[in-house]
Each structure stands twice: as structure tokens, then as C-alpha cells.
């Protein structure tokens, strides 16, 4: 592993990144509003049903089990022929945001943590649909899973690997999970670091295999020291794990001493080749994407149903939008409650005053516990800084009760 020694230039905003301040997640405003039929019964028998679910915002917070499950439940009753996930998510905001920069390389340390979220979520629309006998098209088949990528950076990069049929928008980018082997640099023993990297990459490769994709692509996205070149035989890519055999170099070893390390400018523009970030053209060439589509009409055309399709959209977003509002509201309430707790005067002159303050504090702590229990992992820690976790709240309640007993 070559040590990357570059002067830190500073944090840079990456296009498509999420904001860490609490806000409703970005929606895809460029799509048509759904004005179609209200139920599957209104759809002509010859029409194909495309059900679209937009994945946007923060993975693990906005894109979460609860709204995805609700969206899929709605989709199910439409018996769609195609279940399309439109992916428009940037780098993670949990922890290191905006495409973290470490020694001058673009390292999203949270990406592979969020891979676990994708591993879990995808079971709902892969195995879940496969194993549910009621999930079927009107022809009695299983719906085709489609990933339509606009931005899949950081942890979201794992989503496109979970479906065999992938389309890119013309301005799409997919990757941002690189430099895995720098993520734990400086921590612990080398062999344990390598263990952690291997586990993560192994699971990522597993996702790609399950989705029917070539594992070379995800490996090249993840590790700096993974070199990959490609030739095209009959239009199909043939990969080589070296820098010279293939006619096109996809990723080199990023050796700064050999002048092969990407510059920050290259990384910002997705023009580097230390690790693989693919755009629409590359996705097509590498056989990862079937086509480039920028509109729903183009999508329907590529799916072979341009003349006779019905798009169901919006309903799939409803649960996500509602969930985002709920979580955002909960985070706000938790911050408010924290502020209230800080204003409680615990040093009252009389026993009654002190116990009243303690009772108030206990009530606030219970409110926080209730929020944690309800929204759990969806809560963005950065949005609720200072709010104690649920088990700390419980212990604090115990201490307050004890103070009430002993303060006589």
C-alpha cells in the first residue's frame, strides 16, 4: 500500500452532496407529477406498469427500512411489470460529510458502514419479492428490478449493484467508495486493518454478484491498490487485473512517487483513475448500464413499452417524504427538549423545588427515549448533537430518582 502524502487542501463541496443541517431531503423536481390511474383496475390489460420509487436524501436516515417497506407495500398492489428505483443520493452525512478529504484523497469513511444498510434494505426488494407469492405482475411473473442512477455516491453506490438492470442519466456519477484501505490508517495493527477491509470488500462483492454484476467494477471502485484495465471483445468488456494488458486503463495504483496519484482537481471532476468512478459513458462501455436515459419516456422506451406504459410515481415517494418529515420533526423536538433540559434549574432552594425540577428532567428524558425508540437508527447524530442516547437517559433517570430519595 502506497502511503498517500499530500498536503491537505481543505474541505471541498462536491456536487450532489447532502447537507448536514436538518432539512427535508432533496426531491426530484424534474419529473412529471403522477396524474395516472388510481388503481390497477383502471390500467388497460395491454399496458405495462412501471412503478417508480425515488431514493434521495440521506441513506440510513431518509432512505430507511420504514418508508421503503411502505413504498414497496404500495407498489405491490399495483402488480408492476417494472419496479424502478431512481437513485439520487450523494455522499453520506453521518459522520464525515460531503466526500471527506483525508490526506488529499476523497474518502467517505462512512460509505462501507452504510453498505450494511444497503445489504439489509435490498433484501426487501430482492428476496422479499422473490419469496412473496403475491408479488407478481398481472401476467403472473415477477417484476423486473431496475436501478436508474442519477447520483449514487458514497454509501449509495451499493444500490445500483443490487439489480441486474441499470440505467444512467447522462449526468450520472457512480462511485465515491474509494480508498477503502486508508479508512483505518493509523489505527491498530496492520493485519486487523486488512481484516476489516477484506470483510467490507467481500460483502460488497457479494452484493454485486447477487445483482448479477461483474465484481471487477466494485473492487476497482473500492481499493486504491486494485489495478484494472479492460479490452473490448465483440463490444463486451474483458477485464485484466493489471495496468498494461487491457487496451484501456481503468484504475492504476495511485503511486505518487511514480506520478500516478490523482490530483484533487481530477478527483473533484471525477477524472481521476486511482479508484473507479463511473459516468454514463463508462457505465455503458463497461456493460454496467444498459442505456443512458434522461426521461421517463426514454426509460419506458428502453424497457420496451414506450407505446403502452403507465407510470406510477409519487405514491412511492409518499412514504419517504412522510418519513423524512417525521424524522426531521423528531430531531427538532429532541434538540428542543435538550434545550429545555439545560434550562431546568436543579439547584432549587427548597426540597419541593428541587424535586419538581427532577421530575421535569425525568419527563424530558423519557421524551427523548421515546424518540430514540421510535426513530432509532434514522436519527442523524449530527442533527442531535448533545442529546444523550437512550441508555444514558435511562441511567440518568435512575440517578434522579435516587436523588429524590436521598434528598430529605
Amino acid at each position: 500500500m502506497k502511503t498517500m502524502l499530500k498536503t491537505l487542501v481543505g474541505m471541498a463541496l462536491i456536487a450532489g452532496a447532502c447537507l448536514s443541517t436538518p432539512a427535508l431531503a432533496q426531491e426530484n423536481k424534474d419529473d412529471k407529477k403522477d396524474t395516472g390511474p388510481k388503481s390497477v383496475a383502471e390500467v388497460s390489460p395491454g399496458d405495462k406498469i412501471i412503478y417508480q420509487i425515488d431514493l434521495y436524501g440521506q441513506l440510513g436516515r431518509d432512505v430507511h427500512e420504514v418508508p421503503i417497506r411502505k413504498a414497496l407495500a404500495d407498489a405491490r398492489q399495483w402488480n408492476p411489470d417494472y419496479l424502478v428505483f431512481r437513485v439520487n443520493m450523494g455522499y453520506s452525512a453521518g459522520g464525515s460529510s460531503l466526500g471527506d478529504w483525508f490526506a488529499g484523497v476523497q474518502l467517505d469513511r462512512n460509505a462501507f458502514n452504510l453498505m450494511e444498510t444497503v445489504r439489509e434494505l435490498q433484501t426487501m426488494f430482492t428476496d422479499g419479492i422473490r419469496d412473496d407469492p403475491e408479488w407478481k405482475t398481472r401476467d403472473g411473473k415477477k417484476p423486473e428490478l431496475v436501478m436508474w442512477v442519477k447520483s449514487a455516491m458514497g454509501g449509495a453506490a451499493f444500490f445500483p449493484f443490487t439489480a441486474p438492470t441499470v440505467f444512467f442519466t447522462s449526468d450520472a456519477h457512480h462511485g465515491g467508495i474509494g480508498y477503502l484501505e486508508l479508512a483505518l490508517a493509523g489505527r491498530g495493527d496492520f493485519v486487523v486493518q486488512q481484516k476489516m477491509y477484506a470483510i467490507r470488500l467481500g460483502r460488497a462483492v457479494g452484493l454485486a454478484i447477487k445483482g448479477g454484476h461483474d465484481e471487477h467494477i466494485i473492487k476497482a471502485m473500492a481499493r486504491l491498490d486494485y489495478v484494472l484495465s479492460v479490452s473490448y471483445v465483440g463490444g463486451k468488456p474483458v477485464f485484466y487485473e493489471d495496468m498494461t494488458t487491457g487496451e484501456e486503463l481503468l484504475t492504476d495504483d495511485g503511486d505518487p512517487d511514480a506520478g500516478r496519484a490523482d490530483t484533487i482537481e481530477q478527483a473533484l471532476r471525477f477524472e481521476g483513475n486511482d479508484v473507479l468512478v463511473i459516468d454514463a459513458a463508462k457505465a455503458l462501455k463497461l456493460g454496467f448500464a444498459k442505456a443512458v436515459v434522461d426521461s421517463q419516456e426514454d426509460l419506458a422506451n428502453e424497457l420496451g413499452c414506450a407505446r403502452n406504459y403507465v407510470l406510477i410515481k409519487g405514491r412511492g415517494d409518499g412514504p419517504i417524504r412522510a418519513w423524512v418529515r417525521e424524522v426531521t420533526r423528531a430531531e427538532g423536538e429532541m434538540r428542543d427538549t435538550l434545550a429545555k433540559m439545560r434550562r431546568v434549574d436543579m439547584g432549587g432552594q427548597t426540597l419541593e423545588e428541587r424535586n419538581r425540577a427532577r421530575a421535569t428532567m425525568i419527563r424530558h428524558l423519557r421524551e427523548i427515549i421515546e424518540r430514540w425508540e421510535r426513530y432509532g437508527t434514522a436519527i442523524n447524530g449530527q442533527n442531535v448533537r448533545g442529546v444523550p442516547p437512550a441508555n444514558e437517559c435511562e441511567v440518568r433517570i435512575e440517578q434522579l430518582k435516587q436523588e429524590m430519595r436521598l434528598d430529605r
Binding site: R187, I209, N391
Partner: protein, 433 residues
């Protein structure tokens, strides 16, 4: 993810000897299986599968012996059982062949299909129990997968009678765990030895990491889900500190012995535990030879890395016998003609045990601190009445902790040290005076 370092006992190599030679008192028990270790098993052969033979002994007990252990089979001409139509395969080859050789092809699931077989001679469909070694990803992360906590050997021992009662033929150990405590390894090895004696026992991997890879390592027959991965078995503790010196030598040796018992090349496990390359040659017959250096034709684990093997490579290099996404596919790649899911009671017990352990683990953490709050205050209170009030609360919390131990006896040892509860009971007694 922490692994618990401890001193190991010596692991005894070889299969436990059992009553090897059975009386052949009557002509009804004329079939014989001659094992490679010299034992002879006599009885009536019920099924002669490409990979194993089922034989009914004189006492009515049914045993399964894998072809890899068998030297030869001798049959009484009158009693020859119906054989499945599948042609016999080389013992070294997996029951289901590997997927497509073109590495750029999308994931082939089952590879070549086995030849169609006739239905089982005596008892119909194979009864397959699937037990979860760690919560599947479909559980959405609601339950952790620590070996020694949520996944514990005690539960797997408890379900043995349930599996027997349900006349299970095959037990599938479905693994999805990121590892845990190495103190559970030997216990799981013992338990899985018992399983193997009773049933055809296989591993089916979603993610088998570290202790979750090492625990079922003693089972010979492995399959992968398409997303499956296994390895990353470096033992560590504290702040990502790897085991070294004597401890490292012990754990490497332990797993070497387990590898041999499972008839698996120890080089594979070695490459999963330390930074050691793994390469391989594949000859014209498909036999795989491994190397812990770069001399092999294929690189499975490059230098400077720890091995985690994924499904395609696992099948290509004959580590796994096949890839299966569903139980039905698994049955097919295992060469089962008909299969039914059985052992539901055992499956439910294991799943509930994981959930209960999750709750117990979380509750333990909080309750232990609450106990400390109460006992800490009690220690500093001179007034007896007030002190007894706090001791009463401390006792209540201690009682909760004790109840949680009935879910997982290891909670005390893992978190506070063995014997801690008894010490605290004594402390409460002393403070009550």
C-alpha cells in the same frame, strides 16, 4: 467486534471412535461399508448417493457416511438398494458443479444441474432443517450477530432433541454473522461433530466472518448464497490489537487441526487469519492445489491482505460445492431429489434465542449501571434506613441481572467477570449489617 483470547486445550485430532464393528448376526444385515480408517459398518444400505451412503444398522439406527470417508461398499446381491440415476463423481469434486467459467458472466446461481435422481428408496422427501447462525440480513439489523452473545453454542445444543424428534435428515447451518468470541469455537466444534454424526450437516453462507467462519469450519460441506462471503478470521482485541506470539501460534494451530478434520487444506484458513497470500492451481481433472505463496496460477488472496472469499471463487476453487439463493436451489445443488423443510421447532428456538439474547444484552448493560448507581450510593450512606432503601433497589437490579443470565450465561463473564454476581450478593449482605 471483539474476540476473546484464552488459553486453549490441545485439540485431539481424528474422529471419535464409536462402536465401529457391528454384529452381522443375520443375512438381513449383509451390506458393508468399509471406511478408510479401517472401521466396518454393517447393515442395510438405504441410499447410495454420489456423495454419501445411508445405512440402517442392526439396532435400527440410521447412519450417514460420506463417500470421502469410504474405502469401499460391499453389498449383498439380494439386498441391493435402488440407486439414484446420477453418475458417481470423484470424491474430490463437489456434488454440484461450479458455475460458468467465464468470469465476466453474471453470477451463475446453480451451475450445472445434477443428473435426475430417483426418489429416496424408503422415506420419501429429504427433511431439511435450516438453522440461522446469526440473523439474516432480512431482519434489518434489529438483532446483532455476535458469536458468544446472540449466537451461542448452548442454544444449538438445546435443539438437538428437537431435530431428532422431527426426524430431520439434513441440517443447514445458515451463517450470517460478523464474528465474535473465540471461546465459543471449541464448543461449536464439539456440537457440530455431534450434528455430523446424526445428520448430513452443511453450511450455507450469507456472511461468515471471523468466529462465525471458524465455528462451522469443522463441517466439510459448504454452500454459498450468491452474495456470500467468508473469512477475515484475524483474532484481535481491544483497540484493534491482533493476537501475537504464543496466542497467535495457538489459534493458528487449532484451526489447522480443524481444517484437517474437515478435510480442507489448512492453507485456506491460514490465509484468512494472517496476512498470507493464497494461490492455487487447477489441474485437468479439476483438482485444486493451494499455496501460501505466489507460485499458483490463480491468485485467491494477494500479498498484504487477509482472505475473505466470495461465492464465485469459493466454487471455482472447490471450497464450496455450489451456490444457491433459496432453500429449493440449495436442495438441488446438494443433489436432493425431493426436499421438505423440517425442524421448524428448532429453527424457531434458535431465532427466538437470538432475539432474547439481543434484549438481554441491551438490558444487561443498562441494568448493570443502574445497579452501580444504587450500590454506590448505599456505600456512602451512614443512615441505615436510607442505606437499606438503596440496597433494596440494588438487590432488585441484581436479581434482574441474574435472570438475564438464564438467557445467556456468558453475559456475566463477558461484561463483568465470572463470579461478579456472587461477589455483589456478598457485598449487599455486608452493607446490610
Amino acid at each position: 467486534m471483539k474476540l476473546w483470547a484464552k488459553t486453549l486445550r490441545n485439540l485431539v485430532v481424528g474422529l471419535a471412535a464409536s462402536a465401529a464393528i457391528l454384529a452381522a448376526a443375520s443375512n438381513a444385515w449383509a451390506d458393508k461399508i468399509v471406511l478408510k480408517d479401517g472401521r466396518i459398518v454393517e447393515g442395510t444400505i438405504l441410499e447410495d448417493d454420489p456423495d454419501f451412503v445411508r445405512i440402517k444398522l442392526a439396532d435400527g439406527k440410521i447412519e450417514i457416511h460420506y463417500k470421502i470417508d469410504i474405502s469401499r461398499v460391499e453389498r449383498d446381491a439380494k439386498e441391493a438398494p435402488k440407486k439414484p440415476d446420477a453418475e458417481k463423481k470423484d470424491d474430490a469434486k463437489p456434488a454440484a458443479t461450479e458455475g460458468k467459467k467465464d468470469e465476466s458472466a453474471p453470477g451463475a446461481i446453480s451451475g450445472k444441474k445434477p443428473e435426475p435422481k430417483k426418489a429416496r428408496a424408503v422415506t420419501g422427501a429429504t427433511r431439511m432443517a435450516i438453522l440461522n447462525f446469526g440473523p439474516p440480513s432480512a431482519w434489518q439489523g434489529k438483532v446483532e450477530s455476535m458469536v458468544g452473545v446472540q449466537v451461542n453454542s448452548a442454544a444449538w445444543r438445546t435443539v438437538i432433541p428437537m431435530l431428532e424428534k422431527d426426524n430431520v435428515d439434513v441440517v443447514v447451518v445458515r451463517v450470517n454473522s460478523g464474528g465474535g468470541y473465540t471461546f465459543e469455537l471449541e464448543r461449536f466444534h464439539e456440537i457440530f461433530r455431534e450434528y455430523k454424526k446424526k445428520w448430513r450437516t452443511v453450511v450455507w453462507v450469507e456472511s461468515a466472518i471471523s468466529a462465525a467462519c471458524m465455528s462451522p469450519w469443522i463441517i466439510e460441506e459448504w454452500y454459498f448464497l450468491p452474495e456470500g462471503s467468508a473469512g477475515g478470521n484475524t483474532e484481535w482485541s481491544g483497540g484493534m490489537v491482533a493476537s501475537k506470539g504464543q496466542r497467535l501460534a495457538e489459534i493458528l494451530h487449532q484451526m489447522e487441526l480443524v481444517s484437517r478434520e474437515a478435510k480442507r487444506d489448512p492453507k485456506i484458513m491460514r490465509s484468512m487469519q494472517i496476512v498470507e497470500p493464497l494461490t492455487a492451481n487447477i489441474d485437468d481433472q479439476g483438482n485444486v492445489t493451494y499455496f501460501n505463496d505466489l507460485s499458483g496460477q490463480y491468485t485467491i488472496n494477494p500479498p498484504g491482505q487477509v482472505l475473505v472469499i466470495t461465492a464465485r471463487d469459493a466454487v471455482k476453487f472447490k471450497f464450496a460445492r455450489g451456490i444457491a439463493a433459496t432453500p429449493e436451489e440449495l436442495g438441488k445443488v446438494m443433489g436432493l431429489n425431493e426436499m421438505v423443510i423440517a425442524g421448524q421447532e428448532a429453527t424457531a428456538f434458535i431465532d427466538k434465542n437470538m432475539r432474547d439474547n439481543e434484549k438481554a444484552s441491551q438490558e444487561w448493560e443498562v441494568t448493570a449501571v443502574k445497579y452501580q448507581v444504587a450500590i454506590g450510593a448505599a456505600r456512602g450512606i451512614a443512615d441505615r434506613e436510607a442505606r437499606m432503601r438503596e440496597l433494596g433497589i440494588a438487590k432488585r437490579h441484581l436479581s434482574t441481572l441474574e435472570k438475564l443470565l438464564s438467557v445467556n450465561p456468558m453475559l456475566e463473564r463477558l461484561n463483568l467477570g465470572e463470579g461478579w454476581i456472587e461477589q455483589q450478593k456478598q457485598l449487599i449482605k455486608d452493607l446490610s449489617r
